[in-house]
């Protein structure tokens, strides 16, 4: 409210009941509600993680109390030492890292090549192959598992990590290809057109123009691929035999036997396995979100 006093206008503040004040209160309330809801949701979401870590610190036999004991009476950090001692963690980690890194690189390369072909190149049968690629998502793994196994047996790749890696160098996963293709579709074509006019061939355009612009999409693929390979236990279970070939995800399951799973050790190992994934996600999530945003899955 402005009150004229001579030549100066002075704003008189009425502490209560002015429209501006209510407005501010509404904004504050809204913000408080949002933070409140977010925090509540975050707490609920973190419950599994809390429980995972909590169980990993419990004594053997005391992992599951009824009713659940959310505040532990004792913390057994030595469970982690036991896990390291009993399981050849270094070997498992080495194998997991090998599979994850090599398969992800393969996916990035072969998948992006295919995605670029689907997005930018024109050739006969392109849409048919695209539909075929999508359809590979629809068949349950259980069913192709045995024929695939027999195939790898013929190739002599049993009890090694090759079955876990090589297929990804030849087109890594329909979902990833789909994602990258959508992203490529949203890139402005001007730069590519200009390069073509300058005489650049499709491969150079792919390599020197499209790929550098695709950071976000590639980051998304890295995250998805990492999570998939890092956590995959079924494929290593089927294709490897000797302990030296096992990955982390598979090694985890060795704290289980017919009657009793030693949950505390299993959870400790699970927690250790979860850490790299969380770090990766935290670091990459901005790229990640941008990657999908600009992949213009909002727009063909």
């Amino acid at each position: 409210m402005k009150v004229g006093l001579g030549t100066r206008e002075v704003e008189v503040r009425r502490p209560f009941l002015s429209a501006a004040w209510w407005d501010r209160q509404r904004k504050v309330l809204r913000l408080a509600l949002i933070y409140g809801a977010l925090t509540l949701g975050a707490i609920v979401s973190l419950v599994p993680l809390y429980w995972l870590v909590l169980t990993s610190l419990r004594p053997t036999g005391g992992e599951f109390t009824y009713p659940p004991q959310w505040i532990p009476s004792s913390l057994h950090f030595e469970n982690y030492a036991y896990v390291f001692d009993r399981a050849p963690f270094l070997t498992y980690t080495r194998n997991s890292v090998f599979v994850t890194v090599v398969a992800t690189i393969g996916t990035l390369i072969s998948g992006s090549l295919a995605a670029y072909a689907f997005a930018r190149l024109r050739f006969i049968g392109r849409d048919v192959w695209f539909a075929v690629m999508l359809s590979t998502l629809m068949l349950p793994y259980a069913v192709t598992m045995i024929p695939e196994f027999l195939l790898f047996r013929i190739l002599g790749w049993l009890d090694s990590l090759w079955p876990l890696v090589v297929p990804y160098w030849f087109g890594g996963g329909a979902f990833n290809i789909f994602l990258m293709r959508q992203f490529f579709l949203t890139l402005p074509t001007e730069m590519e057109d200009a390069a073509r006019v300058d005489g650049a061939g499709p491969f150079r355009i792919y390599l020197q123009i499209v790929m550098p612009l695709s950071g976000p999409a590639l980051a998304s693929v890295v995250v998805f691929s990492f999570i998939h390979h890092w956590n995959d236990f079924l494929a290593p279970l089927i294709y490897t035999n000797s302990p030296g070939q096992r990955t982390l995800a598979l090694g985890l399951r060795y704290f289980a036997d017919e009657q009793i799973t030693q949950f505390n050790y299993t959870m400790a190992a699970s927690t250790l396995m979860l850490v790299p994934v969380l770090i990766l996600f935290f670091v990459a999530n901005r790229y990640f979100v941008r990657g999908i945003a600009t992949s213009g899955l909002a727009g063909r």
């Binding site: 599994p48 009824y66 050739f123 006969i124 349950p140 259980a142 297929p167 030849f170 063909r300």
Partner: protein, 315 residues
């Protein structure tokens, strides 16, 4: 796709030279090789197995259509389809609603956005078996947290995993905690909606709900579509939670299709039968996808000419 004659107007389609076909296939080659070597072969083999009796110990024996005939007369086959359909058509909309709600929440301008997003994504990357055990524990009739809360409100405790009317719902509830990927996709979409649209709508007097309905939903409809497609494909294949938590019971109330398939393929040594089941599933999903894609043109809005000019992830 070769169009020979030039079209009037600004769009000219030139004939595709053979070299372009070659280049296209050159790029596609790694995937194509992989497809034929590692995917098509096994898929074809499994299609053939569907017409055999294969107990894995002895070689497959051709039986023609008898697997399919047996399935047509199998009560549990139909039951498993029903269970799966129930789970999909109730669960997927619920999952998308939850994912969208969370995305809307995360889309507001708050500090610690990274931290909140990571927190919300965690249940999705937590090892699924560990999460399942946690929920089995929470759903326990006597000692579980859920019933403790229910008793607190004054309602009668529920047999979440033992009452056949409720078991599928319990599993849907569990699935709602793992919507991280859908949430992130929605979030990305929400961030792609230009602010100006909201501002001008607000100026025109539209309230929150109207803005949501007329701007947000259409603008993210392609992502809604994507999540719907992927959600249905994966829900049709629900397996792990039923395998571990309920083992298909009680009285087959949670006998989902892929679980039933697994029983036959891996526990009853009837791989041929299981392959027949798998291909039926494939056909069903295909059918759905075709219908879905056709229907999408009525409600999915694509911004034509999207140049993808820069993300709006500055929040």
């Amino acid at each position: 796709m070769a169009v020979a004659s030039p079209l009037p107007g600004s769009v000219r389609r030139r004939r595709i030279r053979w070299r372009e076909h070659a280049v296209g296939y050159a790029f596609l080659a790694p995937w194509l090789v992989g497809f034929f070597a590692f995917v098509a072969g096994p898929m074809a083999a499994s299609a053939l197995l569907a017409f055999t009796d294969y107990n894995v110990i002895l070689p497959p024996r051709w039986v023609g259509l008898s697997n399919f005939q047996a399935l047509a007369q199998d009560q549990r086959f139909y039951l498993s389809l029903y269970n799966t359909a129930y789970y999909t058509f109730l669960g997927v909309p619920a999952q998308l609603a939850v994912a969208l709600a969370l995305a809307l929440l995360l889309n507001t301008r708050v500090r610690f956005a990274d931290a909140f997003r990571s927190a919300y994504y965690i249940p999705t990357v937590a090892p699924v078996v560990a999460s399942i055990y946690l929920w089995v524990w929470m759903f326990n009739y006597d000692y579980g947290l859920i019933n403790a809360l229910v008793r607190l409100i004054g309602l009668a405790p529920v047999q979440w995993l033992w009452d056949p009317q409720v078991t599928k719902i319990s599993i849907i509830i569990f699935s709602l905690t793992r919507v991280g990927t859908q949430m992130i996709i929605f979030l990305a979409g929400l961030q792609g909606v230009p602010d100006e649209l909201y501002e001008s709508a607000a100026i025109d007097g539209a309230n929150g709900w109207q803005r949501f309905r007329s701007i947000t939903v259409p603008m993210i409809s392609p992502l809604l579509f994507l999540n719907l497609v992927l959600g249905i494909i994966s829900s049709f294949q629900v397996f792990t939670v039923a395998y571990i938590a309920t083992k298909g019971g009680p009285v087959d109330s949670t006998l989902f299709y892929v679980l039933y398939l697994y029983h036959h393929g891996f526990q009853n040594f009837r791989m041929g039968f299981a392959s027949a089941m798998a291909w039926i599933l494939f056909a069903i999903i295909m059918l759905f996808k075709i219908v879905q894609f056709r229907m999408s043109r009525y409600w999915v809005y694509y911004e034509s000419g999207t140049s993808g000019a820069g993300p709006r992830a500055s929040r």
